[in-house]
Structures are given as C-alpha cells and as structure tokens.
C-alpha cells in the first residue's frame, strides 16, 4: 500500500524509494544489532567487552570459547540437548502421526468424542502442569540418574495434542484414491499409513518437527526441575549456570550463548525449505 508508485512524479517516487530503504535499514539494525553484538563481543577479551576500542585490531580472541567449553561442560550439554530434541521430535512424530491417522481415516465408536477431548488439551500451558507433572515423573522414576533424567526430559512431551490435531488436518487432505488403490492391492492398515499416507505429507511432518525442535531446544523450566545433576544439564541450563555462578566472566557467557544458538540456526536454515506455510495456530507452543 505504501508502494512508491502511489506518489506521483518520478523524482518523488525515487525519494520515497530511498526513504523506504532507509527506514528498513534502521529497523533491520534494531533487530539484527543485538545478535551481531553477541557474536562480536564473544570474540573480545574480557576487559574490552564494555570498553571501547572495537575498531582497533587487537583485543580479539577465541579464548572465551575454550573457557566456556571447559567451564560449562558444553560438549556434554550439547549432546544432551541434541538427544533431548531429537527424541522428542522424532519419537513424537511417530506417535502423534499414528494417532492422527486413526482420527482421520479409521472408523471406530466414539471417535469424535475422543478427538474433541484431545483438542481441549491443546490450550493447557506446560507451566500450569509443570508442578504436578514433576510428581508424576518422580513417581515413575524419571528423575535422578542419567538415563532416568533423559527419559524425564523427553517422554512427557512425546504425545502432543496440537501435533495430533495439526497432522489429522493434513491426513484429511491426502487424496483417498491413493489409499484405495493400495487397498485393492491388498495392503494392510499399517502399510496404508506408513507407505501411502505418510510419504504424501512430508511438508506437514517437517513443520511439526521444526516447531518441536525450536520449542524444546529453548526449554528451561522443565529441565530446571528434572535435570538437576551436572551430567544431565542441557545447553540452556549450562548457560544459566555460567551466568549465575561466580566468577562471572562475560566473555565465557557470550561464547556459551553463541554455541547454544549456532546449532538451531544452522538447522533452521537447512530445514526451512521443507516447511509448509504453517497455519496460524502454530504460534501456540
């Protein structure tokens, strides 16, 4: 609507085009600036992070990364986080897609009622459930040792009402003719699901995976309650630990923050192309 053509005259429209660029550039700096500062400052010597002199050649270092890696146990934490999000996204995809397929394609008594029950669960925020969920996890032995804590971080989030709802919508839009052809060939229900329906909705599957990965990579409250031992810490917990435990070293903290961001950025960049324009509800975690 604010297109340059809207204003009459060539020079005026040229001016408007420049104006558009200038405003865009200023706003882009506001959004990009903090993240660029994070990366640049993580490469500065401790004493010169808040001091000036960034334009001089000296004062740049990789030491912060080595220190952060050592002090925050980043190697272990990155593995833990990767394991956590991959199990949730991968295992969850399987479990939720199966349920979604049943709701979309298999007829059984009470289907609508059960589905309505699942849809209601979408609005429940994790934070409300965190405390009672903690007790359930504890009762089931999902706290404590390494294996138990990793299970505690993942198993409660495998089944997700929103993902079931989202995938069901996409199964409904898979052409029935595909499955009917396979039925005539004598395919069983599992083959209809696994070999026919699933492969024809890859973008929807990718969307669910991306949303899960982004959401759980940043998990904080739940790991804070479950992953209490040092060897079970996720990246976010390591960062928070570095941030609160003296001695507070800004350089180490920034290096750790960059390391906690890089994997998800790279993944997002690579995976973006597979994602459908998600429907608006995807905004709710």
């Amino acid at each position: 609507m604010k297109r340059a053509e809207a204003t009459g005259g060539r020079s005026a429209s040229k001016l408007a085009a420049y104006g558009t660029w200038v405003v865009s550039a200023i706003v882009a700096v506001v959004f990009l600036g903090p993240l660029l500062w994070m990366v640049a400052a993580s490469l500065r010597e401790e004493a010169s992070i808040f001091g000036g002199g960034w334009l001089r050649a000296d004062g740049w270092t990789l030491e912060n990364y080595a220190e952060a890696w050592r002090r925050a146990g980043l190697g272990r934490a990155l593995v833990n986080s990767a394991l956590q999000v991959l199990v949730i996204a991968g295992g969850g995809l399987m479990i939720n897609a199966m349920a979604a397929y049943a709701f979309a394609r298999l007829e059984f008594r009470g289907r609508e009622a059960v589905f309505a029950g699942v849809v209601i669960l979408i609005v429940l925020p994790v934070e409300v459930l965190a405390v009672p969920m903690f007790f359930t996890a504890r009762d089931l032995g999902l706290t404590g040792g390494y294996g138990a804590a990793m299970a505690g971080l993942t198993v409660p989030f495998l089944a997700k009402a929103f993902n079931i709802y989202f995938l069901r919508q996409h199964f409904l839009s898979v052409p029935r003719a595909l499955e009917e052809a396979a039925v005539i060939d004598g395919a069983g229900t599992w083959r209809l699901f696994w070999n026919v329906a699933l492969p024809s909705m890859k973008p929807a599957l990718a969307t669910v995976v991306v949303l899960d990965l982004l959401a759980h990579w940043g998990d904080f409250l739940w790991p804070l309650m479950i992953a209490t031992r040092e060897e079970t810490r996720t990246v976010q917990l390591s960062l928070a630990n570095l941030f609160t435990q003296p001695p507070v070293q800004w350089g180490d903290i920034l290096a750790c923050a960059v390391m906690a961001t890089l994997p998800v950025m790279l993944f997002f960049r690579w995976f973006q192309r597979y994602v459908v324009a998600t429907d608006a509800r995807a905004g709710i975690k």
Binding site: M1, R3, R105, L106, P132, F220, L221, V264
Partner: protein
C-alpha cells in the same frame, strides 16, 4: 466413509494407544492431581499424606502479598507487551508485504529473534542493559547516549526493570506475530483495496477501513495468543532479575515455582496453577466466541 475405513476400525486402538496413554499419564493425570491437591494441605515431600482444607488455598492466595504482586506484575507485563507487539507486528507485516526478493531478507531478519532460545536472549539482554560503571556501559546505554539520553540502571531500577523486560520481549516475539499477520494479509481481497484506491482513499484510510475490518479474525487471534504467551512469562525475569529489584518483576510462574520448591507448599502452588489455568482458559474461550461471531 469408505468400507475399508470401517473394516480397519479394529486396528484403530493400536494406532491410538501410545499417544492416548502418554497424554493420560503426563497431561490428564497431573491435571486431576493438581485439582485435588489444590484443596488440600499437600507439601512437597509427602503429598500423599495431605488433608482436605476446603477453599483455604484459594482464599489464601490473594492474602499472599508475594503472589498478589506476581499477579499484578504479570498483568502489567501483558498490558505493556500485547498492544505494542500487536500494533508493531501489524505495521511490520504491511511494510514487508511486497513481492521483491529483497523483502524476504527483511522478513527473515525480523523473524530471527524468534528462532533463538529465550534463555540465550535473556542472558544477552542482561549484558545489553548493563548500567554505566566506571566509564564502561552496556550497548543500550551507549546507543541512547548518542541521542543525549543519560545512562539508566535498567534492570536494577524498580521502575524500569519491567518495561525493559517488556521491550526485550516485544523485540523477541514480534516477528512471529508479523508472520501471522502476513498470512492473514494474503486473504484480504485485492479488488477491495484497489476499489478503495480508485475511490480516492489514502494509504491510511485503506488500512483502517479495508484491511483492518477484513482481518478481524487474525487480529483477535494475534491479540489472544500474545496475551496467553505474555501471561506465561517466566524465563526473562527469572534469569535477568530473579524477580527483583524489590519483587518488581516477579512473575506468576516464578511464584508458583517458589511455592513448590522453596516454601514447599504444594497445595497452594496447585491452587495458583488452577487459577492460572482458569485465566488462560477464559481467554481462549473468549477468543473462540469472538471469532465465531465473525463466521456467522
């Protein structure tokens, strides 16, 4: 409904079993337990030995000064964030809604903070907001200094801490709402806008009289979702200020967390969680109602 779908109905239970079992154990059962505990004096270490106390936990909530403060802070945060984020996201969507590839890049830039994990951003903004100290200051103070604004203590100033966290939260989340608006914009009939233009409506009038009314549902959706997300605030104040200075940024979730693990008053924590659920559930219900009216 095709014959094979009916015939295959018998295998439905195997397809549903894993998901429904997990939802029952990790969502429904904890919810029921929280509901029951909220009427008892359950404590952290032995919730099984709880006695019923009626509505005491609920009435006690409001008498609890810390919870009341957290409740008001969270509302205040929502009131700061929701209008700013919605309006900003709307105009950003209009701004980047152009076909040339260069605008894709700008869209990506606006969306970037959404992709970064919240704990990372909370830590980053704590450094950005660093107060002036012996000739050194954080980048926010340095940048504002260029325009002659004197350095502020931001997160250490009880009057500025919550607005500072709200600003950072808008910066983080506005890209997501912009994307939702952008999707909504695609469904505004182009002929309508064109007709308004021919009738001599200016850019502002076209937005106000054509675009806004035809995006009513999207706007309601964005407002309610942003509000629900705002009520769920926890990570930013927990890491940036620990709820301080002077409880000025204490969030609802942090107060529930502390009731559970610090004062170990599980019954009250569950009552608080239930109250929170009613708040969020009410908002969702209101959203559904408003949006339905539009469809009829």
């Amino acid at each position: 409904m095709m014959a094979w779908e009916r015939a295959r109905g018998r295998s439905a239970k195997w397809f549903l079993a894993p998901a429904l079992a997990l939802l029952a154990v990790f969502v429904v059962w904890p919810l029921v337990r929280a509901g029951v505990w909220s009427f008892t004096n359950a404590d952290l270490l032995s919730p099984e030995r709880a006695r019923g106390v009626g509505l005491d936990n609920y009435t006690g909530l409001w008498a609890d000064g810390r919870f009341r403060r957290a409740f008001l802070n969270t509302w205040m945060f929502a009131l700061l964030v929701v209008p700013a984020q919605t309006v900003l996201a709307f105009f950003m969507a209009l701004w980047v809604n152009r076909p040339e590839p260069a605008w894709r890049v700008l869209r990506g830039v606006f969306f970037l903070p959404v992709v970064v994990a919240m704990p990372v951003l909370a830590v980053l903004w704590t450094l950005l907001y660093q107060p002036a100290q012996g000739g050194e200051m954080g980048p926010v103070n340095a940048a504002l200094g260029v325009f002659g604004v004197p350095p502020q203590a931001w997160l250490r100033d009880p009057a500025l801490a919550l607005p500072a966290i709200a600003f950072m939260s808008v910066w983080q989340g506005v890209g997501l709402q912009m994307m939702v608006f952008l999707a909504g914009l695609q469904s505004v009939p182009k002929e309508l806008i064109e007709a308004a233009r021919i009738d001599g409506a200016g850019a502002w009038q076209r937005v106000w009289h054509v675009v806004v009314p035809s995006m009513r549902n999207t706007i309601i959706f964005v407002v309610t979702v942003t509000m629900i997300l705002a009520f769920r605030i926890f990570v930013q104040p927990y890491l940036m200020t620990r709820g301080g200075p002077g409880n000025s940024t204490l969030s609802l979730i942090q107060s529930v967390y502390e009731m559970t693990f610090v004062t170990q008053d599980l019954g009250r924590a569950c009552a608080a969680a239930m109250a929170f659920l009613v708040l969020v559930g009410g908002l969702t219900w209101a959203q559904r109602r408003w949006m339905k009216e539009e469809r009829e």
